[in-house]
Symmetry: C2
Subunit: 135 residues, 2 copies
DNA sequence: GCAGTATTTAGAACTGTTCTAAACTCCTTG
DNA sequence: CAAGGAGTTTAGAACAGTTCTAAATACTGC
């Protein structure tokens, strides 16, 4: 029986997070289907309409914890709102202005050459490529 | 006499903005030296300590107007704060986490190959590359 | 089961930004 | 070169998104 809450319970535990009812509900919404992009607000609306009441504060807490645990990746594309991406693998983003839609694209074919070395005393953390497009 | 307020007056007028005392003061701080990165808050502190009182609301207004006029470029690197860059030419950014320092690097030598075509019905607006580094 | 710690919650607080409406300033015209 | 009107500035309120607080609750190890 795939997609059962047991999967998420184990996955949360493996990430060092107690599998509470709320976290399991959120994990299920986030990870059950394909890759997704959510904001705290959008996920809160979703979890409410799924008859699994979770407070907004808990949604924020969970998103931050999932990100810290490597289950999610935070994408910063627009001032004043944070997107979280369930795809934590190497990939980049299309960002459609002004509607705020975000789409992944794989980094397989993308090559970036000629990047300068990191400033003295720092080491590379990540390279984000955001392709901004308009209608 | 280079760097005189006349330069900024003309430049603002050319951008379709009335050269008010406040806008000239801000333009001077922003454009007089080399390229800079500022936030509304940092620029407000600066203009206050330069004995040219300008309200915070006006700093926000001016930054947005300068950006809309193409005098500044907005850089989104961290959730919850906007940076403005006086360098409007092609270039990319180093972002030093967690202190929030931002450094330009030229896009001359950087080549990005293999980017997918923009989604149907959209056209390319800009490609941002943010190299995140840690101490 | 029970105790003890982690988590959740509602609401307050906070941060960064925008709005409001009254006062002021730049610019044009007469 | 005075006056009028549109554009601008201002302080403070309002707002959006996020984090904090302290009390109530739920998970886990024993």
């Amino acid at each position: 029986m795939p997609g059962t809450s047991l999967d998420f319970t184990a996955r949360l535990r493996a990430a060092g997070l107690r599998p509470t009812r709320q976290r399991v509900a959120l994990a299920r919404l986030l990870f059950e289907g394909g890759h997704r992009h959510v904001t705290a607000e959008s996920l809160h609306v979703e979890v409410k309409s799924a008859q699994m009441p979770v407070s907004l504060a808990t949604v924020y807490n969970a998103l931050n914890q999932f990100r810290d645990a490597g289950l999610l990746r935070e994408v910063v594309v627009a001032p004043g709102r944070s997107y979280f991406d369930t795809n934590t693998g190497h990939h980049h983003h299309f960002f459609v202005e002004p509607d705020g839609a975000l789409h992944d694209f794989p980094s397989d074919k993308v090559t970036i050459a000629g990047l300068p070395a990191p400033p003295k005393g720092t080491r590379l953390s990540r390279v984000d490529v955001i392709v901004r497009v308009r209608r």
